[in-house]
Amino acid sequence: MQELTQQIRSAAKRLLQEERVDCVLGYREGTVPMRERPFFAYTPEEADQLVWTRFCVNNLANFLIGRQDRVAVVAQGCVSRNIVGLIQEKQLSREQVYVLGLHSPGMVDSAKVQAQFPNRVIHSVEEDGEELLVNGADFQERVKVRDVKRDNCYTCTHRNAVIYDEFLGEQGEETGGGNIDNVAAPWENLSLEERWQRFEETFKDCIRCYACRDVCPLCYCNQCFVDENQPQWCGKTVEETDVHTFHILRAFHCAGRCTDCGACESACPVGIKMRRLTSKLEKDIRELYGYSPGLDLESTPPLSVYSPEDPEPFSTG
């Protein structure tokens, strides 16, 4: 990983020195354990702050939206797919971005690490090959990376960047090892009552901070439906009806566009697993339309176009 950090820094410096781009978007070291921070480097000196670790849990495509300058961006598989999505949806032009493609090592779920150390305060976490070194005031322990990856990283289907102007490091294994179709819809096999119960449980702690929405490169609407008041589609309370409306509608707005990058779950301050909705919807899109988002600049996301041949399995006549 340190090698990749060096490669990112030198590529960034070169691009800035040659004035190929106005800034390089990557990560710099965070001040809390297991969270690097999105960072714009404008000068070769600033490029020395760039890092690449298993704690890069945002989706950098999100920070490209609305920018007028030429940006080089560090992008592993999912992020590059969201860049494709943004270009398809005309939020970004291909010429404006310079993609520094990477293979993703699979990112760490900090909550899973913390769960291994109940009652103990983690002061710092370092990477050491396939292990993490977890440090507290009075302890140091090792954790295997493969036990604490984010759920979405186990079932990732495209770990290598799908578009890039330059690929840094080696291309690697394409999948995370797990099969997304087996876990995409954990509630499909439940009875109606159980399913409702699971659904209620899943979202009961939501505080409607909208971090999941604001961290997501699909949610770039100038005015989100939850912020509209004429008509008011969704109430403002944290009562069930309003919380559920928000989550169901948001998930549907992401259908056929979500790359399962996991930024939403990583951002949530209370540990909500909102991928339980989006991964089910993406499974439906694969089954109904044979489409996976963000793989091809020339294709059109299925829910953005009407075709008389569109499947309608839900219509019972």
Partner: protein, 346 residues
């Protein structure tokens, strides 16, 4: 103030006394293993070793969603469309093992919600008066805590009725108000050795607070100088303008009021709102006085570290570090405040 002593094995007796008068809430371990505020059923659920809850307990005084009034949504009814105030809290509540910083935060908010006749928020006041605050001093502050820099600390007492200091098998019970003294009246006085142990813990805990911020330059600078400082251009860059920092914060207190109707029923509710959202300041005219992300980002820090100290002599932050810990892009409050306090703002 009196120092009493309580064996942990006798906590039940105290809880029984509490329970007869109060609904009792405490930081408890949830199914996912994190410690969050919940109703306390049994003393065996109590957690003594935790840093702090991810979300602050302000909702017990300032619920995220609160019905203020109800009305009959019928204009043809003479009783219709008349707002009727909701009843206040039905039973008193006790916040057990609240961290000193969180109790101080509520005290600080009194200067906004019930300072005088012109700012007398009946909903806030009702719950403030019906709540008992039994604090638990901090033993091992998090790396993100900086309470000692903002007129607070791991054993800070203001805003509490009782402060508990965990001495292992025993608790030192320091009474800080009449209500607190009454609750602890049948406990025996703490021996000197226990008092010394507590005093030493206080010193150690204060020394263990690693993050520090300075505020002296912020205080001496004019509002416009800080407002126009170039630092905001870079500091705000990665901010998502989500609501995490303000919703987990014990001192953020903004809200939005809405009237809702369903058939014949109508109610007026207030919900937490956040200055990070563009909608918060959006005018009906279409003008937005805080129209950019930078404006909104700056507001959060200016409000807490300049406007509140300037207007009320109260810092709008107790140094709990929650915003830093929960921010999805790791905007670190101590870094931003550090920049505001730099000797040279350019």
């Amino acid at each position: 103030m009196q120092d009493k002593i309580l064996d942990k094995s006798e906590v039940d007796a105290l809880l029984e006394r509490l329970g007869s008068e109060y609904d009792v809430y405490a930081p408890l371990r949830d199914q996912q293993g994190s410690v969050e505020w919940a109703a306390l059923d049994s003393s065996s659920d109590l957690v003594w070793d935790f840093s702090n809850t991810g979300v602050s307990p302000k909702r017990f005084v300032f619920p995220q969603t609160e019905c203020m009034m109800r009305f009959n949504n019928r204009s043809d009814d003479p009783e219709g469309m008349i707002m009727k105030q909701e009843q206040g809290l039905q039973r008193q509540q006790a916040l057990l093992n609240i961290r000193p910083c969180d109790a101080k935060a509520l005290k600080a908010l009194d200067s906004i919600y019930c300072r005088d006749q012109t700012s007398n928020d009946v909903y806030w006041r009702d719950k403030r008066e019906k709540t008992l605050y039994v604090g638990l001093a901090c033993k091992s502050p998090c790396p993100t805590c900086f309470c000692t820099s903002v007129r607070c600390g791991p054993h800070y007492e203001e805003g509490l009725d009782i402060l508990l200091v965990d001495l292992g098998e025993r608790l030192l019970v320091r009474t800080l108000s009449e209500k607190g003294a009454e609750l602890a009246s049948n406990l025996s006085d703490a021996p000197d050795e226990a008092k010394q142990q507590a005093a030493q813990q206080k010193e150690e805990a204060e020394a263990a607070v690693r993050s520090q911020v300075g505020l002296e330059n912020i205080q001496s600078r004019g509002i416009m100088e800080l407002y126009e400082a170039p630092m905001w251009d870079r500091e705000h860059e990665s901010c998502l303008n989500c609501g995490v920092c303000t919703y987990v914060c014990p001192t953020c207190h903004c809200f939005d009021i809405q009237d809702e109707t369903q058939g014949e029923h109508g109610r007026r509710v207030r919900n937490w709102d956040t200055c990070m959202s563009w909608l918060f300041t959006y005018h009906t005219s279409g003008h937005n006085p805080r129209g950019t992300k930078k404006d909104r980002f700056r507001q959060r820090f200016m409000h807490k570290f300049k406007y509140m100290p300037y207007k009320f002599d109260v810092i709008g932050c107790v140094g709990c570090g929650r915003c830093t810990q929960s921010c999805p892009v790791n905007i670190d409050v101590t870094e931003v405040v550090g920049e505001m306090n730099e000797p040279d703002l350019n």
